[in-house]
Subunit: 302 residues, 2 copies
């Protein structure tokens, strides 16, 4: 199987970055795109995110060998129904959603008989919209493919090759395991970042202005994550409920144990944990998953 | 009052950065320093963090107009006792600790009759040690000075001028209010980062290797904070216990409410919070407290 034509449905950060990455790294592939917002379509055309921006989903997917749905996970089913009339019979349908069991079910309902291979590139920034995308977003990042039972092996390999060409590393995983892993490495971190930013802005004794002024003590890192797209994240929590609640239970248990250690003045428990977590950071850097420069390489004053 | 000579006790990230900043921005001030570790003293001398590295605290503070204690808050009292024999009668004694009530009490016990003006530059990175410091660490950051009741106004102003010259913005604050504000903007963010990194590395169903591979989904940001100095942070939690436990209670309440929203499928509550937190991020950037580039300006692949 060779992908000659890819259609991107949803031209925000992820969709736009895929378009730009294909243009930069797989220029032999023709790209088309659609977004339900006319303003986004206009911006996408102006930035050249894809070769041709179409005014209907049906027109955008016409003749596409691969269609990638880049919409919030709660909108996947509607988006899939909208492209159905235009699809080639042998097109591969994929997506970029952060929860995979719910998406696999939604796509299977909407597109029975089609080749559906869900995927999740673990990459992004806190920004969203058609201005936010860039061609190197996926370079060195993992793309997790979650083939449904009985998925066509050649289609899976074709999709893997597509992502490898954009700079991604590929992992195959069961959708339910994906949802558990990402609950820990992505969903719970976002939930607690949203929570602490909300808590801090609701206090009576400490003003919002103080919270912002002194945010360089650690809080500002959480504000970046808590600036992520609200619709996307609402949908993630609603569609990965079971794994998120399970992992949240584990987190809360551990936090309660630390609370007890602080209350009782048990410095050894704190010191032991704080030493252990430092080693994890080293491995994240050694495995190329973060910038090794201090403070993420943030610019400091002059 | 003019500061002609400053002594820095503790030559890690903060002490070293002060030394380098003075050299770069206030070169008329003579700097001396001491660290209880001979290896750190050797490295500090090799990097030229201060003009002269001394082998005893007493020698380091001889003739100093300003002494800044840059040791973990749990070590402040011992460090203060150690410098006592060498201090000029009119020297200003300050520090850089992250909790201020406990430090003020410790310094008052150790150095009765001396001019003690505690301070906290809200700046740092996840790195520590004499290699970690750099001259621009304080540029554009706030330095909170917490003068004790009845503190000499001229001494406070002298200290403020010293920090302004290093690029800091100055705020005066009551020590107890400082401890509450920093509990929110720094201590709780660190505590929850340490917790989630610990939780993630202790799971049975998800391996540590998976957690590291897929950390770009948000988790890696927490690993940076959780790589901060274990001794420093143990001491912060033990010395700012009351404010930390109070703010932790607020955080836990809010997290429980979100947990309930997820369980009941209440997307509106999630969406409303996630929209509100985005606005806080904008203010952090507008007020110059973080890099405006997406993803903190992290380098992406090529």
């Amino acid at each position: 199987m060779t992908i000659r034509r890819v259609a991107i449905i949803g031209l925000g950060l992820l969709g736009g970055s895929i378009g730009l990455a294909v243009k930069a790294r797989s220029p032999q592939i023709v790209t088309t795109g659609y977004d339900r917002s006319a303003a986004v379509r206009a911006e996408a055309a102006a930035r050249g995110l894809v070769g041709t921006v179409h005014d209907t989903p049906e027109a955008a997917v016409k003749g596409a060998d691969l269609v990638i749905l880049c919409v919030p996970v709660g909108a996947m089913e509607d988006a899939a129904r909208a492209i159905a009339p235009g699809l080639k019979a042998d097109a591969i349908i994929s997506d970029v959603g952060s929860s995979k069991q719910a998406v696999a079910e939604a796509l299977a309902r909407a597109l029975p008989g089609h080749t559906i291979i869900p995927a999740h590139p673990v990459a992004g920034t806190e920004q969203s919209g058609p201005q936010a995308g860039f061609a190197t977003l996926f370079a060195g990042r993992w793309c997790i493919i979650t083939p449904p039972e009985g998925a066509d092996a050649a289609a899976v390999e074709t999709l893997a090759d597509f992502w490898r060409a954009l700079g991604s590393k590929i992992e195959l995983m069961d959708a339910s395991h994906h949802d558990l892993v990402l609950a820990v490495t992505s969903h719970i971190p976002h939930l607690i970042a949203y929570t602490i930013v909300g808590t801090a802005s609701d206090l009576e004794d400490v003003t919002e202005s103080e919270v912002i002024k002194y945010s360089a003590g650690g809080f500002r890192d959480f504000t970046r994550i808590a600036a992520s797209d609200p619709v996307m994240w609402r949908d993630v929590f609603l569609t990965n409920k079971t794994a998120v609640l399970e992992m949240l239970g584990r987190f809360t248990e551990d936090l309660t144990a630390l609370q007890r250690a602080i209350r009782s003045g048990d410095g050894d428990t704190l010191f032991d944990l704080f030493t252990r977590t430092r080693a994890i950071r080293r491995q994240v850097i050694e495995q190329g998953q973060d910038d090794e420069r201090p403070d993420f390489g943030r610019e400091h004053g002059t």
